[in-house]
Symmetry: C2
Subunit: 384 residues, 2 copies
């Protein structure tokens, strides 16, 4: 088991009606920048409820709306300027990962002299950040309880992240009822995202981080059990609640400590998003099984077999169980959750594969099975 | 799933050599009260290593030693006086749960005008506490990452706890090598304690807190796998590390959220400790299987069956699996871990059973199966 640190100071308020705790924002000052996407939080009544609570707590609210999926650095720059012009004390993100990551980037960018993209290039430059609060409306990225913020500069076809303990939200409100209206497509994509977060460290060469592996399997089983229920019954509280809490725990550190390893599927998917603005979870669902087949060997079959036995209740020899487990994963993504199976379905062809492979490869050297440019190209070609 | 809050701001440094992070104490001031038990931290070299690090960080160290198991309120009072006399800025506990709980009580007591026992009687009186740091040397209570402190007033035969977010340590250093020298007896008792912490909320009427149940099973499997290895090979790092991390997670909230319920075995055991100064984990190991048999019924068999299937890999109908799971639990405690099986082995007889049952009963009303005085007496008689 590797040495590790574990530090998640975010206070979670989980469940129906927890939005009332927004009154606690007054502990961080009086001027809030509310960050959100489009009109859905208005249609759902979350916006007006939040406004009422914030105003009764004596807070003055400024707004930045229009955050898109694969959030753009330009929107973060706009928010930073707003904060500076209005003496903002804290950020409140109401939305999913894109909204939260935009708020995090603003929180750090306000406290930094240069351009916010420099913090992506070198996170050690993050020396301070405004307090960040979130109200989660989508179960997927886990940004509500972690230190990462992913931004895209689509003009330069780059999607990358900044990371700092200072970006961990001070408080996150996780009300599963806010996800009742999440579409089938986003429910499936979010489930693929949380499964991928779990896989990225579960498939690790560290064999003795037993508790983290069992925690990971607990999260995977939760996704596999409740993803289909949420598709069939969008307002099933049990399903939405378990998925929401699974998404948070998939990437707050609890399931990886002691076994941390370089990630593979996320860096590859970030290339797809950067060049084609692909839905993140859909991109992951296409890549994951091809990555699994690419790295499966006599040397790695033990871990796939552990996955197959403990998550899918399979029996048999390591390689047999490993292969069946990968087949079950495909079946789950494509047949059960209805996620896209090929890049062709997203109108993505052969032409940028070598370019994307070259971009992704440098960050894949410390993975469970280290990958080079030709490995990534082979995985992406298998996705066509 | 119940609404819940989850908040664990303690920074954990886990692994070999992490004691170097004691230098971070200088963030909280310059005057430290070091709290510890007997000579073992000196024999093991932890004391001198800690002193060297603290002094190079410019910290002035005062000492309170002699903390005993089932820590006494008198020792907390002594520490509070020491803090006031010396303008102490923070507490550093080096030891197991008794030492940490004493430090927590001191940290809260220093900031309170009345006697520290009043904080046990009413934790809402805890309005402030000095920062608490810990170096863990025993895997058991989980006090290194939770809000509880248990104290005993043996003169009045009372063992009880105070609880506050303010008592959550700021930082805890968890180095599994510090537990290599823990005796067979304490290793077994500590394992029973963490299993009991997990059981207390796992056996809950809340059926839909799926992820918390799976997390609980992950912890239980870790205890069952590594407890015996730690007995057979006391310096097995993998075993000691997994047990240490399991003990922390058994009671930091991660395994219970959404399914919280009133505890049973701990309140009953606290009576044994209060009247007979029993080893806490040993007392629990005696009580747990009798409590299980007492509450097993057609109405509760589903949860015992879940335990049997997911932790012990049993197959069959609910009641059959439930009964076998309880038998396996007994076998594990008594045959595998060598824990005492009866109160008789601890020279405890019939005479105070009704008194202890009357004391414990009031706190057992909100349990999975609520217990009254006659239930507790029956459970304790079955332990004879």
């Amino acid at each position: 088991m590797n040495n590790f640190s574990f530090y998640v100071p975010t206070k979670i308020w989980f469940g129906k009606g927890q939005i009332s705790h927004l009154s606690e924002l007054s502990e961080s000052g009086s001027r809030v920048l509310l960050v959100y996407g489009g009109g859905s939080i208005k249609r759902l009544g979350i916006y007006s409820e939040a406004m009422t609570i914030l105003k009764s707590a004596g807070l003055e609210v400024f707004e930045l709306s229009g955050v898109e999926p694969n959030p753009r650095v330009e929107k973060a720059r706009e928010g930073i300027a707003l904060c500076r012009a209005n003496g903002i004390d804290m950020l409140l993100a109401i939305g999913g990962g894109s909204v939260i990551d935009t708020a995090k980037s603003i929180a750090a960018g306000v406290c930094y002299d240069g351009d916010v993209w420099e913090l992506i290039e070198d996170s050690s430059k993050i020396m301070a950040a405004l307090p960040i609060y979130t109200v989660l409306t989508l179960s997927a990225t886990g940004s509500e309880m972690n230190k990462n913020a992913v931004l895209s500069d689509l003009g330069r076809s780059v999607k990358a992240s900044m990371s700092s303990d200072l970006l961990k939200p001070k408080m996150s409100i996780c009300d599963p009822t806010y996800t009742f209206t999440v579409s089938r497509r986003q429910t499936a994509a979010g489930t693929a995202d949380m499964i991928s977060h779990t896989f990225e460290n579960y498939f690790s060469p560290i064999r003795d981080s037993y508790l983290s592996s069992r925690f990971s399997e607990a999260i995977l089983k939760t996704c596999i059990k409740y993803g289909p229920i949420a598709l069939a019954e969008p307002d099933n509280y049990e399903a939405r609640a378990n998925l929401m809490w699974a998404s948070t725990n998939a990437i707050n550190g609890i399931a990886k400590v002691g076994a941390e390893v370089g990630w593979c599927c996320h860096p590859i998917e970030h290339e797809l998003s950067a060049y084609y603005d692909v839905n993140h979870g859909e991109g992951l669902a296409i890549i994951i099984p091809r990555w699994m087949r690419h790295i499966l060997s006599d040397a790695t079959a033990w871990k796939f077999a552990e996955y197959g036995r403990n998550v899918w209740d399979l029996e048999g020899g390591d390689m047999e169980v490993a292969e069946t487990a990968i087949a079950r994963t495909e079946e789950f993504f494509y047949d059960v959750m209805g996620l896209p199976k090929t890049l062709g379905e997203l109108d993505i062809g052969e032409d940028k594969i070598d370019l994307m492979a070259a971009n992704a490869a440098p960050s894949l050297k410390k993975a469970f099975v280290p990958l080079d440019k030709s490995d990534v190209a082979a995985i992406l070609r298998a996705c066509l």
